[in-house]
């Protein structure tokens, strides 16, 4: 009985805070309500005897993911989400109607009685300790997916770093400089230095058109031309 009251209270907090996530104008406030939603969901996991997942929920979602969200919001320095215009109103109306239809469908699904098989006694999960049970399952039956998970995380980490690197560091200038050096017929270091310092110092035609465009883009972005001595350190 206590667990049911607790579940209902946490569910109310969860629904209200997730509604506020999507309704509030300010993204920072939305993110903070999302933290509240995740914490109440962790409490719901506890009432469902998934203690390990409750703790992981707090650590991973409320701890790591939300900090990432807040960091990005503050990094981008976003203004409030200003909504005006008839089109916006129509779009919002359609969104709410679609959501209502989906909720009605979900209500129909839940109101039906589905046969979910025999209901096990609650002690069946809880006796060996939840964390221990998950650990045993992870390292025996689900060992291969568990190892694949590390690959997913590695790829995500590398991908995030590659995507979020600034354009200036991404190698546009380095590519241009490499092309320029390979296009120069003379390997005299003074000629190379002059060509690197002044783009118009060498005759037209030694660079392809695309490379010139790349160079112009990278210089218009404010990229500083590094002296050729730093070439090898990159």
């Amino acid at each position: 009985m206590t667990a049911q009251i607790l579940f209902a209270a946490l569910a109310a907090v969860l629904v209200v805070s997730s509604l506020l996530v999507i309704l509030h104008r300010n993204p920072v406030t939305s993110a903070l309500f999302l933290v509240s939603a995740f914490c109440s969901l962790a409490g719901i996991y506890l009432t469902l005897h998934a203690e390990f997942l409750g703790m992981v929920q707090v650590i991973v979602y409320a701890g790591a993911i939300m900090v990432l969200f807040l960091f990005v919001i503050m990094y981008l320095n976003l203004q409030h989400d200003l909504e005006t215009g008839v089109q916006t109103a129509v779009r919002r109306g359609i969104g709410w109607i679609a959501g209502a239809v989906l909720l009605a469908e979900a209500g129909l699904l839940v109101s039906k009685r589905w046969a979910v098989g025999p209901i096990a006694p609650p002690e069946a999960v809880a006796t060996p300790g939840n964390t221990q049970a998950i650990g045993i399952a992870l390292y025996t039956r689900y060992l291969f997916p568990f190892e694949i998970t590390s690959m997913v995380l590695l790829v995500a980490m590398v991908g995030a770093i590659v995507i979020a690197r600034s354009r200036r560091e991404r190698g546009d200038e380095a590519t241009v400089r490499r092309v320029r050096l390979s296009a120069l017929p003379d390997s005299d270091p003074r000629v190379r230095t002059a060509a690197l310092a002044e783009p118009s110092a060498h005759p037209e035609g030694t660079l392809a058109k695309g490379d010139r465009e790349t160079y112009e883009i990278s210089t218009s972005l404010g990229g500083a031309v590094t002296p050729p001595g730093e070439e090898s350190s990159r």
């Binding site: 667990a3 049911q4 579940f7 569910a11 969860l14 629904v15 997730s18 996530v21 999507i22 993204p27 939305s30 999302l34 939603a37 995740f38 969901l41 719901i44 996991y45 469902l48 005897h49 998934a50 997942l53 991973v60 979602y61 993911i65 990432l68 969200f69 990005v72 981008l76 976003l78 989400d81 779009r91 969104g95 709410w96 679609a98 959501g99 989906l102 909720l103 979900a106 839940v110 979910v116 209901i119 096990a120 006694p121 609650p122 069946a124 999960v125 998950i134 399952a137 992870l138 689900y142 997916p145 998970t149 995380l153 790829v155 995500a156 991908g159 995030a160 995507i163 979020a164 600034s166």
Partner: protein, 100 residues
């Protein structure tokens, strides 16, 4: 013991809120938060069924879903940061060209 229907109803409500958020909002970061809400709705359904079936497998799946969600957040936020550098905006209705 909590009836499995309660958890499923809560999961359905949470998923619906997430869908409405994706459809209604135009700030890419808030849309991303709504996607997180939907993922959590799925997790809640997994946990509820794991409880009602007396099996641990559902909880293991939630563990995997959380891992994928963390990876997704990292990649998605990197994309949003890059998009903001390119367009000075994260409003999805101002981003309507494939060309960078």
């Amino acid at each position: 013991m909590i009836p499995v229907g309660w958890s499923l109803a809560l999961s359905a409500a949470l998923f619906t809120i997430g869908v409405v958020g994706v459809l209604v909002r135009r700030n890419a970061i808030v849309i991303f938060m709504s996607v997180e809400l939907m993922l959590n709705a799925g997790n809640l359904a997994f946990v509820a069924f794991a409880r009602s079936m007396g099996s641990i497998d559902g909880q293991v799946f939630v563990f995997f879903v959380m891992t994928v969600a963390a990876a997704e957040v990292a990649i998605g936020l990197a994309l949003i940061v890059n998009l903001f550098r390119l367009r000075e905006s994260v409003f999805v209705d101002e981003i309507n060209l494939l060309k960078g």
